[in-house]
């Protein structure tokens, strides 16, 4: 354990974290007879890039909760969260909410009108696992991936027979989440159906700072109801082909918790339907993939503001061995976007041509080169190349040490709102454009019953033509006005020790993000040279797990540093620190039920904190969950 203390020392008292990113695997072999439904690993052509892998086990205790909760508590990423269950937008590497691409089963699901995803309407349960790639992914994944990309997956298996699972989660403030999952699979066919309903009265007490004497009141307007359906199917008609499809319908009905001091009773309904179909053909030297999908979003705000967007995707790519040691993937993607919003109607066609290649020069030295050109309605988005590499320069039986590096350009096409909003939309906007460079070191060490994975990454990024909305006369209008320089450090640690029947785990991460605005909008503006608002320079998180036999306990801690409220860095919010703890019990063999149960206390010290100014967050709260497998 001594070396864990050592590794965290570089960052003072900051504890360490989970899910160390690993060197992405190259040249994975296809096992067509295997039980896993095949999908191309997202990190396959991402040599040099940092990866956070979120497994089914990591998500276990977050069942029915928003993905927000997992990311906020278990990673170094920061989400601007407007309250529990309320709007939550992700900021990666000091970029803004729209500067990360979000995918579900390979389908980009950022709203084309808003250009971002509300992570509170992505309940854990709509997907089984996730990968988060930090840093520019424009060449590999297309628009929006300036700060990084988030990839959600459902994971089907063959040959599992009949499976069923019931999950229930009850907790403070009327929390009641329920899900039922039924699956059946044979050698060549697999199906799974899941339905869920997540409810919270969300009437947690808060201190009303806007009133004389700051009385403690309860929220009367924060109820959240979500329900949804996920259907996955996979079929292997022959040994050389696979057809798979997934559908996710999520309905969310929220009363919007007002800001302290406001008496608004806003409500928002979201209906999101996503459907994807993949066909793979596995030739002897190449693999064809054809993908089609639909993403249909409807957002209704206060009944009368109805905003509908629909996206249709068609893509085809071919992966082949170019030369010995060089594998490549070339493809095209076509996107048709239709928007029918309360403020405007718009449609758009996007065409993308992309090429990725992996060069395995030696067993311990690999490169990925990615290229992409996107055209939207006749406009050329910035041509994006990226070059990444990994070199394991030390390898022994006990440990591996490698360095990884990436140079990349990335971009974001202006959103439909940016260009077409009436009034104020600016059709002449350019794509936001970024250049980035990063360098990291990764260590994997194992001795006897002890293992340690850690990584340290340094990055720099220059973002240009950043779009901001400015008040212009009687309305607001967006302009390509801001340039931002981002610099940061990410540290991850994951260690395990087996000792006298105990499994001890210590994991943690620390993120340093300096995001410095380079632009004043006019002579009186005092924003240049200052950190972007609501972008904490420091965030740290750590967790200790102890398990023995069928029982496990955890203590999780997160610390978020000061956040400035506006671009001139005059007012700020204090850092906060939260502790969670929980216990989980796996029913033993021979027990009349199969499954597990857990109890969990969030915000153990009942800390009063605000993530965003005057946005309330709950104090100490409790959850009880049970999973029964048939």
């Amino acid at each position: 354990m001594a070396c864990i203390g050592h590794s965290s020392m570089a960052f003072g008292n900051l504890p360490v974290l989970s899910k160390v990113d690993s060197l992405p695997m190259l040249g994975d072999t296809l096992d067509l007879k295997g039980v896993e439904v095949y999908n191309l690993p997202v990190e396959k052509y991402a040599s040099g890039q940092s990866l956070i892998r979120v497994t089914e086990r990591d998500l276990e205790r977050f069942q029915g909760q928003a993905f927000t909760e997992f990311l906020q508590k278990q990673t170094g990423l920061f989400l601007r969260q407007h309250g529990p269950g309320m709007l939550a937008s992700l900021t990666m590497r000091g970029t803004s909410a729209g500067h990360n691409a979000v995918f579900w089963n390979g389908l980009p699901i950022n709203s084309p009108s808003l250009g971002q995803t509300d992570f509170s309407i992505l309940p854990v349960g709509g997907f089984d696992q996730a990968e988060i790639l930090l840093g520019a992914g424009g060449a590999l994944f297309g628009t929006d991936a300036i700060g990084g990309s988030v990839h959600l997956h459902t994971k089907l298996k063959y040959n599992q027979g009949f499976q069923a699972q019931v999950q229930s989660n009850i907790g403070s403030f009327g929390l009641w989440n329920q899900s039922v999952q039924v699956g059946h699979s044979v050698e060549k066919f697999s199906s799974r159906t899941q339905v869920y309903r997540n409810f919270s009265r969300n009437d947690f007490p808060f201190r009303n700072l806007s009133k004389i004497g700051t009385p403690v009141e309860r929220h009367e307007h924060g109820q959240v109801l979500q329900y949804g359906l996920v259907q996955d199917l996979a079929w292997r008609p022959t040994d050389k082909s696979q057809l798979s499809t997934s559908l996710w319908y999520n309905s969310s009905d929220r009363e919007i918790i007002p800001l302290i001091g406001s008496n608004t009773e806003d409500q928002q309904q979201d209906w999101n339907l996503r459907w994807v179909m993949d066909y793979f053909y596995f030739g002897s030297k190449n693999t064809w993939n054809f993908k089609g999908g639909i993403v249909s979003d409807e957002l209704v705000f206060n009944v009368s503001s109805v905003n509908k967007t629909r996206q249709y995707f068609l893509s085809g790519d071919l992966e082949w061995d170019m030369w010995p040691g060089v594998q490549a993937k070339t493809g095209v993607r076509q996107t048709f976007i239709f928007g029918e919003l309360s403020a405007y109607n718009a449609s758009e066609n996007r065409s993308e041509l992309y090429h990725s290649s992996n060069f395995s020069l030696k067993e311990n030295l690999q490169f990925s080169l990615n290229l992409r050109q996107l055209i939207y309605d006749g406009n050329f988005a910035p041509f994006t190349p990226s070059l990444g590499g990994e070199w394991t320069f030390f390898a022994s039986e006990e440990q591996q040490i490698g360095i990884k590096s990436m140079l990349a350009r990335s971009f974001k096409v202006p959103t439909l709102n940016d260009r077409f909003w009436v009034p104020g939309g600016n059709p002449d906007l350019l794509s936001e454009d970024s250049y980035s460079a990063e360098l990291g070191i990764v260590q994997q060490w194992k001795r006897g019953n002890f293992s340690l994975d850690q990584s340290l990454t340094y990055f720099q990024m220059w973002v240009e033509n950043w779009i901001i909305w400015l008040p212009r006369g009687s309305f607001w209008s967006p302009e390509n006005i801001r340039n931002v320089n981002n610099t940061g450090i990410e540290y991850n640690l994951n260690s395990q020790l087996k000792w006298r029947g105990y499994n001890l785990g210590l994991s943690g991460n620390y993120a340093f993000n300096s995001a410095i605005n380079q632009t004043n909008i006019d002579g009186n503006d005092r924003s240049s040279g200052k950190q972007l608002p609501y972008t904490p320079v420091h965030k740290a998180q750590g967790q200790i797990d102890v398990s023995k036999g069928s029982t496990s306990v955890f203590v999780n801690h997160q610390w978020v540093g000061q956040r400035f409220i506006a671009t001139d860095n005059i007012a700020s919010l204090d850092p906060y620190r939260l502790w969670d703890m929980g216990l989980r019990y796996q029913f033993p063999e021979g027990f009349f039920l199969k499954g597990q149960a857990g109890v969990q206390i969030n915000n153990v010290l009942d800390t009063e904190y605000q993530i965003l100014r005057l946005r309330t967050m709950p104090g100490r709260n409790y959850q009880l969950n049970i999973t029964i497998t048939l």
Binding site: N263, P471, I521, A566
Partner: protein
């Protein structure tokens, strides 16, 4: 009487000095009785409205309300008014905070029952608070009202007088309350607290001005500004001064000799803002632009040093700036202030 009050003040101040060394912020009594109060509306969705205090030269103190009362104002400040030692901070997020004008300590509030509050006047020891009422489904305001509170220190609303849509500024004339609405002017009987009648107004009404014993209601449209002289006997429009001026906003202030300083904005595509100077006695534009810029959000005229105060919101990305001009429009000084500065109270 004045001397008695002063001695009392001195006594209290001396006692305060001796008694509480280690308590809260040391705000000298009477600190806010001089200088300029700058109210910063705050950004929508952030409720960070605050009051700044300017004491001259470069001396600006920030966040006066929070500093004195140890809690955020937590609202958007729409208007600030002073009456008989009390300062009323009107938040369009549905509250009125009442503080002691001398030291800004909280005296009370109207915090229940208001919706989108706009302005306030005092009559007969009662507060009359204009409020748009809650929006309907299409963001219209069909349920606008004037709330009546029977206590100058706030508390419960006694009555809501239904008025035309979107009441803004008000003016008390005898026992009548004149209400400038989005499209017309309402006359309220203050003896019975009932709506008497509605007067059609050319242009969009914004603000009442008193000049040479006459009361004017300022209104505007895309091409003209209007100063409607109100007949103080029957509360109708007696005559109108119409002046051609494009892009006038609702922000204006009365200077010396009937000179009105008014913010204009060209709108799309240039978004040039300017300060126009209008002569009321001559009924014409004296100078269409004495100062130019962008993000102009409020204007005031300092009656003693004859300086024009222009508030610049700096695009609401961060805090704003106040630009102090002389009467010819030459810039004298800029002051860093809070988010969305929009108005001034000159002491």
């Amino acid at each position: 009487m004045k001397n008695v009050r002063l001695s009392l003040l001195l006594l209290v101040a001396a006692f305060g000095f001796l008694a509480c060394d280690n308590e809260g912020p040391q705000i000298p009594l009477g600190e806010f009785e001089s200088g300029v109060l700058i109210y910063n509306e705050g950004a929508f969705g952030a409720n960070d409205g605050e009051v700044y205090h300017y004491k001259g030269d470069d001396d600006v103190s920030a966040d006066v309300f929070e500093r004195v009362n140890n809690r955020p104002f937590a609202g958007l400040i729409q208007d600030v008014l002073e009456h008989d030692g009390k300062t009323f901070l009107v938040a369009n997020t549905g509250k009125v905070e009442i503080v002691d004008s001398r030291d800004f300590t909280s005296l009370g509030a109207v915090s229940e029952g208001l919706d989108i509050t706009r302005s306030l006047v005092v009559y007969d020891d009662k507060l009359y608070i204009s409020d748009w009422g809650a929006y309907d489904g299409d963001f219209n305001s069909p349920d606008s009202y004037i709330a009546v509170v029977d206590n100058l220190s706030g508390g419960a609303i006694q009555k809501k007088i239904e008025v035309s849509s979107r009441p803004e500024k008000m003016h008390v004339l005898g026992s009548r309350l004149l209400v400038a609405n989005a499209q017309n002017m309402d006359i309220v009987n203050l003896e019975a607290d009932t709506l008497l009648n509605t007067v059609e107004i050319k242009g969009i009404p914004a603000k009442f001005l008193s000049f040479e014993g006459n009361l004017y209601l300022y209104a505007r449209d895309a091409a003209n500004v209007y100063f409607h002289r109100i007949n103080t006997n029957n509360f109708t429009v007696q005559s109108t001064i119409e002046i051609a001026l494009a892009g006038a906003t609702s922000n204006l202030t009365l200077g010396r000799n009937g000179e009105v300083y008014l913010l204009t904005s060209t709108g799309w595509p240039d978004y040039d803002d300017a300060v126009a100077k209008i002569s009321l006695p001559q009924a014409q534009v004296a100078e269409a632009s004495i100062f130019r810029g962008s993000g102009f959000y409020g204007i005031g005229f300092h009656p003693r040093d004859n300086h024009i105060y222009v508030a610049d919101n700096n695009g609401f990305q961060g805090n704003g700036t106040v630009i102090i001009l002389d009467e010819s429009g030459s810039e004298l000084r800029t002051l860093p202030v809070g988010r969305g500065p929009s108005g001034f109270v000159f002491k």
